[in-house]
């Protein structure tokens, strides 16, 4: 039984100089499979193992215990259940199995003895044999392993030590060895370099993709400028930026110096009603404005519009430090840490939650985004988000506005493109904010997590309008804590580009990167980092299936070609060319302070000579009415308006409506999830029962109609339904399909197959028994009561990738 342990025990002795050991062993275990069932990554070595360990399962995983073997490698803590299936050796490597946790996401190791608990650090010594090992993770998971009486005491002690020594939470620089452990082997490098990028999403790394986005949004009057191609104008901006068409690159170059870090106003998105959303940093005030500069600056700011509203995000939004503090408090509240004796009594739980202010900040962001969304709806203006740095709250609000207004951003591909556009290429400081390297604690702030929580709020209120699911958001949330992804390991696109220079060319299929000259010394130790969107690296296909709604997909509106829903109005108004009024939206009120634009303020003087019109107070109230008109619109009066895809999805932000993300924040509290109980073997979940019934009925109907349809297909469908329904019921949500079409292009092959099999609704009157030809259709009707166009053109082929979990209910 312990034949394989010879190497591992030897290896254990070498723990302190892991790097050396890694080098020597990396070629030995090529895709090796440990004797006890751990499928190692290429180059991964087992440092320690303990047999006969039980893992406490969270309610979502099914509750209760699972016994198996616990491993600690230098990349992860892995747990292999006793009777797990032998994984396919030819399958692509998955970094983390369903029961695994990466060492880098571990926050704390606590050993529980017979009478005491102890926080285990790399240096401390354990004076008792642990009965239980609790791992607190940075992503708010809590893993709990229990050593059986049959587990050798030495194994229990040793693995606790090993984990405590290996995860090394606070030491800078350890991250590199961690990354090497996961991705550094030759096989892994090879494997990663052969990965294809997801072609369905927009990566915003080439000028072409920006042009696609312009076309998708139907924005005219804008062009992609490559003036920052070598990051000369601004180090933190992406290489390609969208600016008004009539501003030439030479003119544009002069504007950079007027903004903080050279972050000029850039186009982000166009509302279907013709308003443009821009973002910029604050103005550099001590710069002399030449007359030409002013003209260019104003053209950049106004685009083709007459009216410009600057939304100031600097003051009222929480600062990164606030967010960090709130998140820390939330963690302490939700984790229920046993090593610290601080616990919140149940009757004070709600007020403690309130005092973390995490919910407040969410509300604040959503409120601001809702305001901007209402403003955009008015049409014919540019709305410019301004923040001193333009790298934190601008990202949050700008992307939230798009999630609210653009149905495309509520699909997985669209959402990934959005994050790529507004966060990754736009230069959100992921590296400092997430602080994976543990280098600068004062920069750390989970701004991106706040954004994910905001999106979750929207999702929780309008689940039917999203294609992505809570599981997807959760996966993204967890990935943030894993320092393995190029998307999240740099502060700007420039850093990212520099790092990827030494990659083989095939890894960056899109044009662009190879034109760039090599700059700076390379760090050969860095393994190639995959993008975070490569979900197959992290999650098994069973779990990826749950990233999207399968019951229905929200209708994707046809792209608006001219970008303007009410084009007939004021067509000539646009090309006027004369920049008009500027307003400031701050603290929910509009104003037009004279020093809003530094060049327009009194001392420069040149402005007022050329512009006669001053903003009047009437237009202030006009704007306010605009927001109000939107907020008071009656959805039920005009029922189509509710599902008009161009209507913004405005969140309800009142006390009772803002909820806590249970499946994320409270999953560590193992006993807090009574309502999502596992399905036991003796009682079927009612939904399973229902789907079973449906299946029976189908078979009956098939018999009755004397036609034997392909059984294979018939059996797969209820499974799919079952898993989806089940999932949705657990989340307390359900999906409605109002769409008449599904967007097949976006769907994965399995999606597409399952959807094409949903036939139109048939008449179900007792007297009107369907003829055999129709009968085939009517078999499906009771599943989805919505109108769906017959898609007879598409052949019904069960996709091989549509594998479904054996027992979907149990894994929730």
């Amino acid at each position: 039984m312990l034949t394989g342990s010879k190497t591992t025990f030897k290896v254990r002795q070498l723990v302190p100089d892991m790097k050396e050991r890694m080098m020597s062993h990396s070629s030995l275990h090529a895709r090796g499979r440990d004797v006890l069932g751990l499928c190692c990554l290429p180059g991964e070595c087992v440092l320690q193992r303990a047999v006969l360990v039980r893992k406490k399962l969270s309610a979502k995983e099914g509750g209760g215990w699972l016994s198996g073997t616990l491993f600690c490698t230098h990349f992860r803590v892995a747990f292999v259940p006793q009777d797990s299936q032998k994984p396919d050796d030819n399958a692509d490597p998955v970094l983390l199995g369903d029961h695994d946790v990466a060492l880098a996401s571990i926050d704390k190791v606590v050993a529980v003895g017979p009478s005491r608990t102890k926080l285990v650090t790399p240096t401390c010594s354990l004076k008792f044999t642990p009965e239980e090992l609790v791992l607190y993770c940075r992503d708010m998971r809590v893993l709990c392993f229990l050593f059986d009486r049959l587990t050798p005491d030495t194994q229990a002690v040793e693995i606790t030590y090993t984990i405590a020594k290996t995860y090394q939470p606070l030491k800078p620089g350890t991250i590199i060895s961690f990354q090497n452990a996961a991705l550094g082997s030759i096989e892994m490098k090879q494997f990663l370099s052969n990965r294809r990028r997801d072609p369905t999403m927009n990566w915003f790394e080439s000028s072409l993709s920006w042009e696609q986005e312009l076309e998708r949004a139907g924005a005219t009057g804008w062009r992609v400028s490559s003036v920052n191609d070598r990051f000369e104008m601004s180090t933190s901006l992406p290489r390609f930026n969208v600016v008004p068409q009539r501003v030439l690159d030479t003119e544009l170059k002069k504007t950079f110096s007027h903004f903080n870090e050279g972050r000029i106003p850039r186009w982000c998105w166009r509302h279907p009603r013709g308003s443009d959303l821009l973002r910029m940093a604050s103005f550099q005030n001590n710069i002399y404005h030449e007359k030409d500069d002013i003209r260019n600056l104003e053209s950049v700011l106004f685009g083709g519009q007459q009216l410009c509203v600057i939304v100031d995000l600097g003051e009222e939004m929480p600062s990164p430090a606030d967010i960090q503090l709130a998140h820390t408090r939330l963690r302490t509240l939700c984790l229920g840490d046993i090593s610290s004796s601080v616990s919140v009594p149940d009757d004070k739980w709600l007020s403690t939650l309130e005092s973390t202010r995490w919910l407040d900040y969410t509300r604040c962001c959503l409120r601001k985004a809702a305001e901007v969304a209402c403003l955009l709806r008015g049409g014919h203006m540019t709305v410019v988000l301004q923040e001193p740095e333009d790298r934190d709250m601008n990202c949050v609000v700008c992307s939230l506005v798009q999630v609210m207004c653009d149905p495309h951003c509520r699909t997985v591909a669209g959402f990934q493109s959005l994050v790529q556009k507004e966060w990754i290429t736009a230069g959100h400081k992921f590296l400092s904010r997430i602080n994976c390297h543990r280098e600068s604690d004062k920069e750390e702030a989970p701004v991106f997590l706040l954004f994910l929580y905001c999106v979750w709020q929207l999702w929780a209120q309008y689940p039917a309008r999203f294609q992505l699911t809570e599981d997807y958001l959760l996966a993204l949330h967890d990935s943030v804590h894993l320092p393995l992804f190029s998307s999240l390991l740099a502060n700007s696109q420039r850093e990212r580009c520099r790092r990827s220079q030494h990659l083989p060319q095939s890894y960056t299929p899109v044009n662009g990167l190879r034109e760039l000259p090599m700059g700076g010394p390379e760090e050969p130790v860095d393994p190639p980092f995959p993008p975070v969107w490569d979900w197959a690296l992290q999650y098994s296909s069973q779990r990826r299936v749950r990233f999207t709604q399968a019951v229905s997909q929200p209708a994707c509106p046809p792209p608006v070609l001219n970008g303007n829903l009410n084009t007939n109005l004021d067509r000539g108004w646009h090309n006027d060319g004369l920049p008009g009024s500027v307003f400031l939206l701050s603290r929910s009120t509009f104003s037009h302070p004279s020093n809003l634009l530094p060049w327009r303020s009194g001392n420069s003087g040149s402005y007022w000579k050329s512009h006669r019109r001053a903003p009047s107070s009437e237009s202030v109230s006009g704007l306010e009415r605009l927001i109000r008109a939107c907020s008071l619109s009656e959805p039920s009066e005009n029922s189509t308006a509710l599902h008009d895809p161009h209507e913004p999805l405005l969140p309800l932000l009142l006390g009772p409506c803002v909820r806590i993300w249970r499946s994320c924040y409270l999953r560590g509290v193992l006993h807090a999830q009574a309502f999502s109980h596992p399905v036991s073997s003796c009682t079927q979940h009612p939904l399973e029962q229902l789907s079973w019934e449906v299946q029976q009925l189908r078979e009956k109907l098939a018999q009755a109609s004397n036609r034997r349809p392909e059984n294979q297909t018939k059996r797969q469908e209820p499974r799919q339904l079952e898993s989806n329904l089940n999932q949705n019921a657990n989340n307390g949500t359900f999906l409605f399909s109002y769409s008449s079409r599904t967007s097949q292009q976006q769907a994965s092959p399995s999606r597409g197959a399952s959807h094409s099999s949903v036939p139109p609704r048939a008449q179900r009157t007792a007297s009107d028994l369907p003829r055999p030809a129709q009968r085939n259709n009517s078999k499906h009707t009771f599943l989805f009561g919505h109108q769906q166009e017959p898609q007879s053109g598409q052949p019904h082929i069960p996709s091989p990738s549509a594998k479904l979990p054996k027992r979907p209910g149990n894994t929730h």
Binding site: E132, E624, R628, S636, L654, L666, P686, F736
Partner: protein
């Protein structure tokens, strides 16, 4: 003409008959023809009316409203709009007795009058010659109505204001309650067979004892209330108890439920304190001995009046709590939002719910784990005893999680068990505040928490609970009108018309067809309920989980300090001999309160969940929720269009009905295979399109008129200021 209001003020002993003279009814009919009349129920009489009255829509941004006529009848205050309303036809969940603009008199909680912009609580003794410009009515089902009286003739204003104030607020006698006028007209539905066990006959009790395999004794000596007027007609006591008559009303252990192991749950009021100390102790001992005799000579007792909040605390806490949901206008609600969680918490209502559930879990632990008899005691034995014993029974016995079972339970523990509904609900608007307390509502709240956490285990839905909590305040049903069985019987006898031979019969609340048609009653059922299917295993291959759950292994990480002090052993030698344990005192901090049962809860949680077995609630901080459906259903600001749990339910019900339809189709085709599928009782689920439902679906009715502000707090406030400005501008230009 007799002025109603002043008449009421003069009369010290108000009595219903004196207010309506035949002349008045005629007067009402002489009103101008254009006025519409409300559809009166049988036995309903209009007292007074006024026109035109402006009823504000709840949103207070602009003082919008609807003009119409306000009526006050002996059943309700009703507002009849001058405009034609369309929603009546489209509503799927319509109450047949009262509509959206009707307030049953018993349902009125408080009336406020607005005098020169100032809001004052109207009490019965308010100055009579000054009339408010606006009245605000807060209902017990948490609706809020605002009527503007300034458009009406002064005389009418006077009449209607005093009429409403008098009939809603003044203390009145029981016989004025509408049920007795209504009862004379039996409806055909009432004759239909009842499925709910009413526990009004000895057979009901014997059957219940048989069902639970109890070995206790049915007492029929109190049939004519000779033993006590505070005791039920029939009740069950431990068989060891022999001398009934030494108990004077009090201190009699009454059987509630028996566990399959043989141990049972009993409840009792305190023995009378007037006796001498020795007698008291002796009485107590006999009581405990008798209970202990039931099974294995073990018993645990729990004094609820010591360990749980008093009924006064409950009342105060609920009063605070409901204020957060009684919103006069939306502005107020926007403002309350900032401190939402801490204000909820400060009311303490959620904590009381938690304490009750926790106590019930403790009781369940004694019964299910230790297999000891449990005796819960309380001063009266009819308030918190009812809460705890019924909660414990719901957790232990899946039968009570079905709709009929639940109704039987309420009937057994509350109605037959002599809970003083009349006093506790304050149906008669008595000034004496001591005895009012929403104990029954507290029970429903606790049940809701269970339903919310384990919805597949319950046959009924949260809508059912909400409707039940509303029905308490509908003065048509006999169920919630009386203080005890004796009270019911004597009143019914006195009120019955001499012409008829039998006693008067009111419908019980369980006759749901009095309130809802069968279509609406479908909302009472939980479409997710997992019914127990017996023949299933032969048909389906059961899925075996891949791993075996280990029951033996406790989690030491979450192990809590050993229980201390809850069920303390008595040092008394006699009791020690009998292995009697007695809960002595409420001990320890709130922390240990949860810690005590955590172990029990966790060991339960490690077992595979059986919806037809023991069911325990989770009581952690984040797990106790606000009953959103009941509390926010009238607040349009928090309705999510196209979302919420109700929308899920309706969609599922549609699915089920489609399955049912298909089954029927099959059955028609192939009669021989029909029986195989027939394990689900046939219910007809169908109601329009569920497409555009909001989160408060069956209750929110005013969608058509609501001006729902979506923009959040800060902006709203500033907009409301600027709104006036801009409208002025509009007028000027």
């Amino acid at each position: 003409m007799l002025s109603l209001g002043t008449g009421g003020a003069k009369s010290s002993k108000p009595s219903f008959v004196s207010y309506v003279t035949p002349e008045e009814i005629k007067l009402d009919k002489d009103l101008p023809k254009k006025e519409k009349h409300p559809d009166l129920l049988p036995g309903e009489v209009v007292f007074c009316s006024a026109n035109p009255i402006l009823k504000y829509t709840q949103d207070d941004l602009s003082q919008r409203g609807v003009f119409g006529t306000l009526f006050c009848t002996n059943f309700r205050v009703t507002f009849l709009s001058d405009e034609l309303t369309l929603e009546e036809t489209s509503k799927t969940f319509k109450n047949k007795l009262y509509g959206e603009n009707d307030i049953p008199l018993m349902c009125v909680d408080h009336i406020y009058g607005v005098y020169d912009e100032k809001r004052k609580l109207i009490t019965g003794s308010l100055v009579k010659n000054k009339y408010p410009s606006k009245i605000i009515i807060h209902c017990k089902d948490l609706r809020v109505f605002q009527f503007c009286l300034t458009f009406t003739k002064e005389e009418d204003t006077k009449k209607i204001f005093q009429g409403i104030a008098h009939h809603c607020l003044e203390e009145k006698s029981l016989k004025c309650i509408f049920a007795f006028s209504y009862a004379g007209t039996p409806s055909p539905e009432m004759q239909r067979k009842r499925e709910t066990i009413m526990f009004e006959s000895p057979e009901d009790w014997t059957q219940e004892m048989k069902r639970t395999k109890a070995k206790c004794r049915l007492v029929t000596e109190n049939e004519n209330f000779e033993l006590s007027q505070r005791l039920p007609k029939y009740f069950v006591i431990p068989s060891a108890l022999e001398d009934l008559f030494s108990y004077q009303e009090k201190g009699l252990p009454i059987w509630c439920w028996s566990h399959h192991s043989g141990c049972a749950l009993f409840k009792a009021s305190f023995p009378p304190m007037t006796q001498e100390e020795g007698d008291f102790q002796m009485h107590l001992d006999t009581m405990i001995n008798a209970v202990a005799h039931n099974y294995l000579y073990s018993v645990k007792t729990e004094d609820l009046s010591e360990s749980l909040p008093t009924i006064l605390d409950i009342q105060q806490s609920y009063n605070k709590f409901k204020q957060f949901f009684l919103i006069d206008n939306s502005t107020e609600f926007w403002l309350s939002d900032v401190k939402w969680f801490s204000s909820l918490e400060s009311s303490g209502w959620l904590d009381i719910i938690r304490q009750c559930l926790h106590k019930a879990v403790e009781v369940v632990e004694c019964i299910d784990k230790d297999n000891t008899n449990v005796l819960v005691t309380e001063e009266e034995g009819t308030d918190l005893c009812c809460v705890i014993s019924s909660l414990a029974q719901i957790m232990l016995d899946p039968y009570y999680r079905t709709l009929m079972g639940f109704q039987s339970l309420v009937q057994k523990e509350w109605v037959a068990g002599c809970h003083a509904f009349l006093d506790r609900c304050n149906h008669l608007h008595q000034k004496d505040k001591e005895c009012h307390s929403p104990v029954f509502l507290l029970f429903l709240e606790c049940v809701w928490q269970l339903v919310h956490q384990h919805s597949p285990a319950f046959q009924f839905s949260e809508t059912y609970l909400t409707v039940l909590s509303d029905s308490v305040h509908v003065p048509v049903f006999s169920t919630f009108l009386f203080n005890s069985a004796h009270h019911r019987e004597s009143v019914m006898k006195a009120e019955s018309p001499p012409a008829q031979s039998g006693t008067l019969s009111c419908p019980t609340v369980w006759d749901w067809s009095v309130q809802f048609d069968s279509k609406a009653q479908n909302f009472f059922f939980n479409p997710l309920y997992s019914e127990k299917v017996k023949h299933e295993k032969t048909v389906r291959k059961p899925h075996k989980p891949k791993h075996q759950r280990q029951l033996s292994l406790p989690s030491s990480a979450f192990k809590t300090p050993p229980k201390k002090g809850f069920f303390k052993e008595e040092t008394d030698s006699l009791k020690k001999m009998l292995r009697v344990k007695r809960i002595s005192r409420w001990m320890g901090s709130p922390d240990s309160l949860v810690a005590a049962t955590r172990e029990f809860y966790e060991s339960w949680q490690q077992r595979p969940l059986d919806y037809h077995g023991l069911l325990l609630p989770c009581l952690d901080g984040p797990a106790v929720h606000v009953w959103m459906q009941r509390y926010v259903r009238w607040i349009p600001e928090v309705h999510i269009q196209g979302g919420g749990s109700m929308a899920v339910m309706t969609k599922l019900m549609e699915l089920l009905s489609q399955v049912q339809d298909l089954k029927n189709l099959l059955e028609q085709r192939d009669a021989s295979q029909a029986a195989k599928f027939d394990h689900r009782p046939h219910r007809l689920f169908s109601f329009g399109s569920s497409g555009r439902l909001s989160s408060s679906f069956p209750f929110a009715y005013s969608r058509n008129r609501s001006f729902k502000p979506i923009i959040p707090t800060g902006l709203m406030q500033s907009l409301m200021v600027t709104d006036n400005l801009s409208s002025q501008e509009d007028e000027a230009s």
